[in-house]
Symmetry: C2
Subunit: 432 residues, 2 copies
């Protein structure tokens, strides 16, 4: 072997970053590995974009099959995105006995077992450090550094778009829609932001992390998810008054009887919580293990070069495995198809809650709310009811002590059926 030959499919933002780093660092890889890492082929539908990149001697084409069909290619980097074309491409690459590196969280989260089985059958590997948390070494830490630990919990902010929006809503007092539009104008949010603001992107990432940390497969569909679209500037205001920050959090908790918890939803975090001050497009992940205690990773979760840097760390890992003949293909215990992990239903969790009722301002409403909550075993920690400025509906904000989700949902549903209730109740879980 004279060189490790890389074929890149998809030269968009991250792919462009990969081309730039491979070009800038060629000599460095050569020295470190003792073998050149060569970008041999690049394919992108939009072949014109390749003219703007330092492609060197790479053979460029608009057909991904040119990469797959080149027998000299050892590693295919898939940066196409999506789960249609990308899935077919990865399966073809694996069948051609090429190692695959991808940043595609949806693909790994939704089709992991099928892909890993194909890799195993063909004696090659799939690496995906860039799929979760951009530049933070989340996969490596879960798969290697913490492997001797039994994991207690994970709390993670892994969607930069949502974090940017919530930060701006908090800092500038603007409503969701307005901040979303600004984020789209700045390129921090997609034209169709559904996957980000709806929580799907974070759900993809936590399903991967839960699978890695608990050594089985957590299907994407089993992850409970709520997005941030219903968070109002009122909620942000009340959170501030109460000493909390609102964040979209991915939460994983170990099985304590009814399955592991794997859920994505807005939360309130006390201002001194380690994740409360993670702002703008930054990502962070706190992992608590029984031996290591709580560790935190923090960094840029997205962007051309940060994400490309994570892809490059996979290139080095795979190249090193090739050079040394290391036959490890699948991270230990990961995505065993035989071991689909049981995920606890959201109804079964227990936590504290922020509730914002919208009710008519008349006697006995607070008493009715308190009474119904009490009936369901929910104890009130604090209440904010400000003087009404009109005859219209007013907000009543209640923070509860720890309560069971099913009890809380029952109480809220009952209260929403009462004639003083004027709108859907806002429920935001509080995480410690």
């Amino acid at each position: 072997m004279n060189a490790i030959n890389i074929g890149l499919v998809g030269a968009g933002t991250i792919g462009g970053g990969v081309v730039k780093i491979l070009s800038a660092q060629a000599r460095f890889f050569d020295e470190k590995l003792g073998l050149p890492v060569k970008l041999t082929r690049i394919a992108d539908k939009n072949i014109a974009v390749l003219k703007t990149l330092p492609v060197g001697s790479a053979i460029c084409s608009d057909n991904a099959d040119d990469v797959i069909n080149d027998p000299s290619i050892n590693i295919v980097i898939e940066l196409v995105g999506g789960t249609g074309f990308a899935k077919a491409l990865v399966l073809k690459a694996l069948a051609a006995k090429k190692h695959v590196i991808t940043a595609n969280k949806a693909l790994i989260s939704e089709f992991g077992p099928e892909l890993f089985a194909a890799a195993e059958a063909n004696g090659v590997s799939i690496y995906f450090e860039a799929a979760v948390g951009g530049t933070m070494p989340t996969i490596k830490t879960a798969r290697e550094a913490l492997v001797g630990n039994e994991i207690q919990s994970v709390q993670t902010i892994t969607n930069g778009t949502c974090n940017y929006i919530l930060t701006k809503m908090t800092q500038e007092g603007l409503p969701f829609d307005e901040v979303l539009k600004a984020a789209q104008a700045h390129g921090y949010a997609e034209a169709d932001p559904t996957l980000d603001v709806g929580g799907g992107d974070t759900a993809h990432k936590v399903s991967i992390m839960a699978s890695l940390l608990f050594g089985g497969f957590v299907p994407y569909e089993s992850v409970y998810k709520e997005g941030i679209t219903t968070i109002t500037d009122d909620d942000i205001d009340y959170a501030k008054k109460l000493g909390y920050a609102i964040k979209l959090l991915g939460v994983i908790k170990k099985d304590s009887g009814s399955g592991i918890e794997v859920r994505v939803h807005p939360v309130m975090l006390k201002n001194d919580h380690i994740l409360a001050s993670v702002n703008d497009v930054f990502n962070a992940m706190a992992i608590e293990g029984d031996y290591c205690g709580k560790i935190l990773l923090y960094g840029r979760g997205a962007g051309e070069l940060p994400t490309a840097s994570a892809v490059i760390s996979d290139v080095i890992d795979v190249a090193r495995n090739i050079v040394t003949g290391n036959p490890i293909r699948i991270p230990m215990g990961y995505y065993s198809i035989a071991n689909e992990l049981k995920v606890a239903p959201i109804d079964g969790i227990s936590t504290r809650y922020y509730l914002r009722f919208t009710v008519l301002d008349r006697p006995n409403v607070l008493a009715a709310i308190a009474s119904e909550l009490g009936h369901n075993g929910i104890s009130i920690a604090s209440v904010i009811q400000l003087e009404s400025k009109s005859d219209e509906a007013v907000p009543v904000v209640i923070v509860t002590h720890t309560a069971k989700e099913s009890n809380l949902q029952t109480a809220v549903k009952k209260l929403e059926g009462m004639d003083f209730s004027k709108a859907k109740t806002q429920i935001i879980r509080i995480e410690d």
Copy 2:
């Protein structure tokens, strides 16, 4: 091979933690590796301590040679500490073709090249994740995750004792000596705290990180170091007034002409600096690469189980290398003896400074100070001089704009020679 046999030398705090985790997780390693990891031998001078640990079927002795001389042992874990007996032990283990895992930062920092050459000659490896930052995956991140980056800088809090002392001085307004005594009583500081509070421990760690990140050898002796013993409660007070926190920081900066900067000293960090809120015994490391941007690791830097957890991650890495026949012995580019890196002299750095002069309260003193600083090209950003309560010497606190260290030292020396100067000037560097 039926099992990977571990020999542990040193069953103190961390060693005890390793015994506990290996015992608790035996089945887990078995499943993950497909081969049992067996604690086969333990040696400790104080053999009585072994009676309190879950040693299982391990053969216990008070003689480390019993471990070295057992041909079934694949991996020796050295947790003796120090650089005398421990160095001889590690060299004997390597000569006997056993892989070595150690948490010994002094040993790696001071004798790395010799040890790595011995490992290379014997076809075995040395792993040392626990040597820097306890449970934070610092070594793995530097060696693997960021390997495609050119590193710009590192800022790290890696000495829990110093961070605990500075935190308590800040939160409780107590002087250094008093807090040190309390820390010793709590077991957070050694009876002889010199290596911690003098900065030597942090210097060991940053010499290792600089070696890893820049692919050469940074000798311990080349690291500039100052400890925290001269920090007074006055400095803490002024820092608060100015909006800073005082921390003992390890700093690494890339070569910009006269060598890489590798230094350890107290610094002032703006309160919104990411490391300013790392308190108590916690550690953190911010690494900035040209592609990844700034990433942060945070976690417990010491303690029985957290540090043992890092040792166990090495056990898994080495065991996996043995199982797969991976011949990688030395982290890429690491500690090449042929490549001793040039470290810039402290005189050559440029930064901002906090200066606390102790001077007689009489006319023209401030003018003299300002003038001497100006002569040396040092521009003043802010001054605090409070009304004097007596005829005794008063503090004059000055924060400078960026200045050259050599100019600053010249100016301060000159001012200390003037008759109004009543004590040594406190100099604390300010890091951004």
